[in-house]
Symmetry: C2
Subunit: 405 residues, 2 copies
């Protein structure tokens, strides 16, 4: 697998565009479109928050037949908790693109991200659709990626090329997210992290869904910024088959190759989101090993990476492994303090229920770094999981309190 | 029921004391003792964190027979994750008091609060025990309350008098806590909120345990400051029967009277802890009504009161009900956005899945107050629960990152 340019427009047959339609002030880019010249097999994972934005509801209807050809996405407004009018507006948004591109309404997916509870300015979107469609191009990925940014400070775009059965195939993706990040997405439709993925691979719908689900569980569903799950989180993947490889079947060797590539790309994007976290100064990897079950491993990794006190300690560069241990113990997972070992970086700090004596300053060195690794060896089984998080800074609080609804 | 003075020494037969033994710097008070001149029926609820401090382990042993007569507590060191030596130190601490007071070791409970992972300076404690015991007095509650404070800025002490079957009985309590507060305590032994309760009521052990459990569930277990559950949380209640009322039996009218009084005192102390939260500027009550089950009501109240983004909005005085709705939806409880109503203060802001139009500025007024009430009517059943929380301020982050292990 090698990394290539052009994000979602790297795979054959995909075009994209992004522009400002006026939802955001200061004429910032806020409307994106991704289009495949050929009908795609499509799948999505959506937030499991029971309060779902209209776009999540509409996409779950539109993806029932597993087919789609375009995605329209706006930033600056989440179109969530906007009542029946909100649902109608998401449908109208999809329909306007369908109309302009000669597609069925059901073949257009829709996504929104921004403030909750404000009516979507649908007229601005409808007025911009002709220009948005006209500007579709094979170089449009960056424009689309820019148009879905909210509090993001970095543009998140990635693409890779690899071989399936001798044929070159490509996967491209764009993503956004820097706050309200604690995605737990599932295939059963229920984002505000958004990720749009394109591929020219030919892949069976069941294999596509399965690859999407597995890759999401190990990447996006293992990151947290603030512990707050959005109402709009989604990952959409479109496969148009234009690479003309032999169709990838579920559970095949080719499916494993495709899945590994997808997972590698998702992991990079998930890490980019955490590195761009609002107010963050640290990137932290929380590895849990030897848990009794996979569920326990994930639960402990999530609990440690979500702990307010642990995250304050990261911000203060304080090697406070006591907070790490307490967070693990609170997780609900099977944890035995007498069997647990904790490492800060490569330094063992806890074993046999008590502190391991360290030379003065050695732990401070680990915590002074921008990238920190923490490992909890639970000593109870064979399962492992890794979560990715950031520190909790005063700037994060400032950003999210100065914000006005 | 009327409130009276003298905290844990208000009930007949209880004495207390507090002093500095040198664990804390600057000679701040750090060692407390509470003693009943008569053997007590005793019960405790303890943290459900699987990483438990030594004092929690020792108390669960010492309370097996439901009897105890003294509590020794230190601040400045949690004696948690301190290995086998930690356990031995907690036992030694209890034994020293037992020795000085002529009690069995098992009749002394022990509590510690402070930094995790540092060896307890047991010699300092042992050296101070004679003076601590000699200073026991019927006016010693305040001194004891002061000696268990860590980052607390207010002393937490309360007492009340009421009648059981014509006889006056008293309940007194002291508590501490301002950070690492998200207690979930249970009778099955498993702080760093501490609460020590004394009563001169005569009460059957089963009735005492039941009253303690019910009152804890509705008070301490419904508060959060930072979502981090301590390894040391505990509430201990001692009943010496010296009021000479007819012994209160489980499920009796008298048990309900006693239970209601205990709950009222716990709720006041729980609220005092939240009002003293590290860096906090707001006190917030989150009421959940008409949930499908009590568990759901509590789950939603906890999710909203623990949300980082909701708490940042409180700090910014931003009436961001969208974050409230998203936190409810994330909770895992049964929530239907189309049936949910949200009130900020008395203002209905969400119904029928969308915003209710408000006059400009009216919500800002609600959020400008120091005390804020939020109500979520889930519209799904008959169950309700109330949680108490505070805002997340830049000062909280500063306090908990400047802290050095």
């Amino acid at each position: 697998m090698r990394f290539i340019k052009n994000g979602v427009t790297a795979p054959i047959g995909f075009k994209a565009n992004g522009l400002s339609c006026g939802i955001k002030k200061l004429k910032n880019s806020d409307l994106a479109l991704i289009y495949s010249i050929k009908m795609c097999d499509a799948a999505g994972v959506f937030t499991t928050n029971k309060v779902k934005a209209s776009c999540v509801v509409v996409n779950s209807e539109h993806l029932k037949n597993g087919k789609a050809q375009a995605i329209i996405a706006n930033s600056g407004n989440a179109n969530c908790m906007t009542g029946k009018r909100g649902l109608k507006n998401s449908r109208t948004m999809a329909a306007s693109v369908a109309n302009a591109l000669g597609l069925n309404n059901e073949d257009v997916c829709v996504a929104s991200t921004g403030v909750i509870g404000h009516p979507l300015p649908i007229e601005k979107i409808l007025n911009a659709v002709p220009k948005l469609v006209n500007g579709l191009s094979r170089k449009g990925s960056e424009g689309a990626a820019r148009a879905i940014m909210t509090t993001d400070s970095t543009l998140k775009e990635i693409a890779a090329e690899f071989r399936i059965g001798g044929k070159r195939v490509r996967i491209g993706a764009i993503a956004k997210g820097a706050g309200m990040i604690h995605p737990q997405m599932a295939l059963a439709p229920h984002a505000t992290m958004l990720c749009f993925v394109t591929t020219d691979a030919s892949i069976a719908p069941s294999a596509l869904r399965s690859a999407l689900d597995v890759a999401t569980q190990k990447s996006f569903n293992m990151i947290t910024i603030d512990g707050d799950m959005s109402t709009n989180d989604m990952v959409l993947v479109f496969a148009n088959g234009m690479a003309e490889n032999k169709t990838i079947k579920e559970n095949s060797k080719d499916a494993r190759v495709f899945g590994a590539a997808l997972e590698a790309l998702f992991l990079k994007l998930a890490q980019l989101i955490v590195r761009d976290a609002e107010g963050a100064t640290k990137f932290v990897e929380v590895r849990v090993k030897n848990a009794r079950s996979l569920r326990d491993a994930r639960t402990v990794a999530h609990a440690v990476s979500s702990s307010t006190l642990v995250k304050c300690a990261f911000f203060g560069s304080d090697p406070n492994w006591g907070r790490v241990a307490a967070a693990a113990g609170q997780s609900g997972a099977e944890v035995d303090p007498w069997k647990m070992k904790i490492y800060l970086g490569r330094e063992l700090v806890l074993e046999n229920g008590g502190a391991v004596k360290k030379r003065a300053g050695i732990l401070d060195k680990v915590f002074a770094k921008k990238d920190i690794k923490i490992t909890l060896n639970l000593g109870l089984g064979k399962h492992s999981a890794t979560a990715y998080t950031c520190d909790l800074s005063m700037k994060y609080v400032q950003l999210n309190s100065a914000y006005h609804t």
